[in-house]
């Protein structure tokens, strides 16, 4: 066995990292196609406000993060419903409130290091409770995502047409909002609040460069998120870098690689067509 896997904390890091990368990529595909790419940032920053409240009043910061994320996501959904043309504005407003609250409340937190661990995560310091939480959450998210696959596709594609076809749009949006909020909260403890937003969007953006269908977009996004996490953990262990940041940078690297692959394949097709014409 490689030296890295001899450490229990690294085994936990790999299990949690891989599981989260899979479910974040699944949720991210819907988030991006609903044109709510910034929702990850808004929720993760709001979760920080919840963490601060938890640390201030002496209850679980993860619970605080889940509560704050839920409030923030229902706030976004509420504005989206009332002002459908301004959904991006709703995300930006929530993001501002989240950052503002987190900034103000963090000033009152005595143990700054415990608050900071939520900023960039502490994937190499996962407790057994957090491991079980991540496993349970991943199983639940994957199962619900598979069951609602058709519904989520339709709602992302055209919410109005979905409603006319009998899709329970409000229920689907509600379940999806809760899933995203809970996932962001749990992931903020491990990969970090500032990294979760990029993991929610960048692997999907990379997948969209190479995929040829909705299904393959999800599969590519999972692959990119998985590779970013696994390679990121290896690099951080052997080179001594911060895991959250390394994972985030690697996912951006995969995005540029996917763009390069697309451009190259486009040029090859163009050259072939030119050759065929001659």
């Amino acid at each position: 066995m490689a030296a890295i896997f001899q450490y229990e904390y690294m085994q936990k890091a790999f299990i949690v990292g891989i599981l989260l990368s899979v479910i974040i990529a699944c949720l991210g595909t819907v988030v991006v196609h609903k044109r709510l790419s910034l929702i990850g940032s808004a929720l993760s920053h709001s979760s920080l406000a919840g963490v601060a409240v938890g640390l201030l009043f002496g209850f679980s910061p993860i619970l605080g993060a889940v509560g704050a994320c839920l409030i923030a996501s229902f706030f976004i959904e509420g504005i989206r419903k009332k002002l459908p043309a301004f959904s991006e504005l709703a995300v930006a407003i929530t993001l501002s409130i989240g950052i503002g609250l987190a900034g103000v409340l963090s000033g009152f937190v005595k143990n700054a290091s415990s608050f900071n661990s939520f900023l960039f995560g502490s994937i190499v310091a996962i407790s057994s409770f957090e491991l079980y939480l991540a496993v349970g959450l991943s199983a639940a998210v994957l199962l619900i995502f598979l069951l609602m696959y058709k519904e989520l596709f339709y709602v992302s594609f055209d919410e109005q047409a979905a409603a006319l076809s009998g899709v329970p749009v409000r229920l689907i949006n509600f379940i999806f909002t809760v899933l995203t909020a809970v996932t962001v909260s749990v992931a903020s403890r491990t990969v970090g609040a500032l990294v979760i937003s990029s993991l929610l969007v960048v692997p999907v953006a990379a997948a969209m460069q190479v995929a040829r269908s909705y299904k393959t977009t999800i599969l590519w996004a999972i692959l990119f998120a998985f590779l970013s996490t696994v390679i990121g953990l290896f690099i951080s262990f052997y080179v001594g870098l911060k895991p959250g940041g390394t994972i985030s940078l690697l996912s951006a690297g995969f995005f540029f690689l996917a763009v390069a692959m697309k451009m190259t394949s486009g040029k090859i097709v163009a050259l072939r067509q030119k050759g065929a014409l001659q």
């Binding site: 196609h33 069951l147 609602m148 696959y149 058709k150 519904e151 596709f153 339709y154 992302s156 594609f157 055209d158 109005q160 047409a161 979905a162 006319l164 076809s165 009998g166 899709v167 329970p168 969209m208 995929a211 040829r212 269908s213 909705y214 299904k215 977009t217």
Partner: protein, 272 residues
């Protein structure tokens, strides 16, 4: 129970807000099997009319009946196919194959929280074939032309087996050949699948040959010379006293003179 003659029956329809009315006392009907068009100036209320027909807006006064049922009572819209304005453009960047996009429209047939089966894939294949997109089943909309994307949106609603097809400006933003191809497909569907079609359009010249009924919704009336050959019902959206009906004969682009072709039938009956 007597057979319902009208696919759409609008009676005394008024819509607007306290400070502004958009439609006032508008009445018209579209018979079963008709290929009807709503034409009119920008802002005359064409798209508003479509939204009212689909129950997406509620009228201030008047009634709308679709296939004999009052719109506000309809819960199942699966027999009414709707292709919204600019739908081809809106789908352009969605990363799904044509097959996946059409398959998603079969929600009612597949059922909630279930997966599509062989039967649903066969319906999808037929809808793509009917719209001339068989070879694009695995292609994403970004790899299609504007006309092909518009036909893809048509395939989505056709897959559900609609009795009434409502299209909001489907010819906008596509080239002349693509418009001809789309209208030709709609004409075939109107005849072979016996689907009633109601289309909002600006394209008077193009629709002339295909429709058997044209509803003109405009503040300034079109002169008779400007109007296409077909049944024309002028409806003033605000001053109902200008409302009148004028009948023309339709000229079918493919004069096959069959019982099923609404345009031919209309021509044969002398425009009555």
């Amino acid at each position: 129970m007597p057979e319902i003659e009208d696919a759409v029956l609008v009676d005394g329809l008024t819509f607007g807000y306290s400070d502004k009315l958009f439609l006032k006392d508008v009445s018209f009907h579209v018979g079963k099997g008709d290929f009807a068009a709503i034409i009119g100036d920008n802002g005359s209320g064409k798209s508003t009319m479509v939204k009212l027909l689909l129950g997406l807006l509620s009228p201030v006064a008047g009634t709308i009946r679709i296939m004999g049922n009052e719109v506000k009572q309809i819960r199942d819209f699966s027999k009414i196919g709707y292709v919204p304005q600019n739908s081809g453009d809106s789908v352009a960047r969605f990363p799904a194959s044509a097959e996946e996009i059409v398959l998603s429209s079969l929600y009612r047939q597949i059922g909630p929280f279930r997966f599509a089966g062989k039967k649903h894939r066969e319906i999808t294949r037929k809808a793509l074939e009917l719209t001339g997109l068989s070879e694009y089943a695995k292609t994403m909309p970004s790899g299609m032309s504007g006309g092909q994307r518009q036909r893809l949106m048509l395939a989505r609603v056709l897959a559900c087996g609609p009795e009434l097809l409502v299209l909001d400006e489907p010819t906008v933003g596509i080239d002349s050949d693509a418009v001809d191809q789309l209208l030709s497909i709609l004409h075939e569907i109107n005849i072979s699948e016996k689907v009633t079609i109601l289309m909002v359009t600006h394209d008077l010249a193009k629709i002339a040959a295909y429709t058997n009924r044209v509803l003109c919704l405009s503040e300034k009336h079109f002169s008779e010379e400007d109007l296409p050959t077909g049944t024309v019902v002028h409806i003033h959206p605000l001053t109902h006293d200008h409302q009148y009906e004028h009948v023309h004969c339709a000229s079918c682009p493919k004069p096959h003179i069959t019982e099923d072709c609404a345009a031919c039938k209309h021509q044969r009956d002398g425009g009555k």
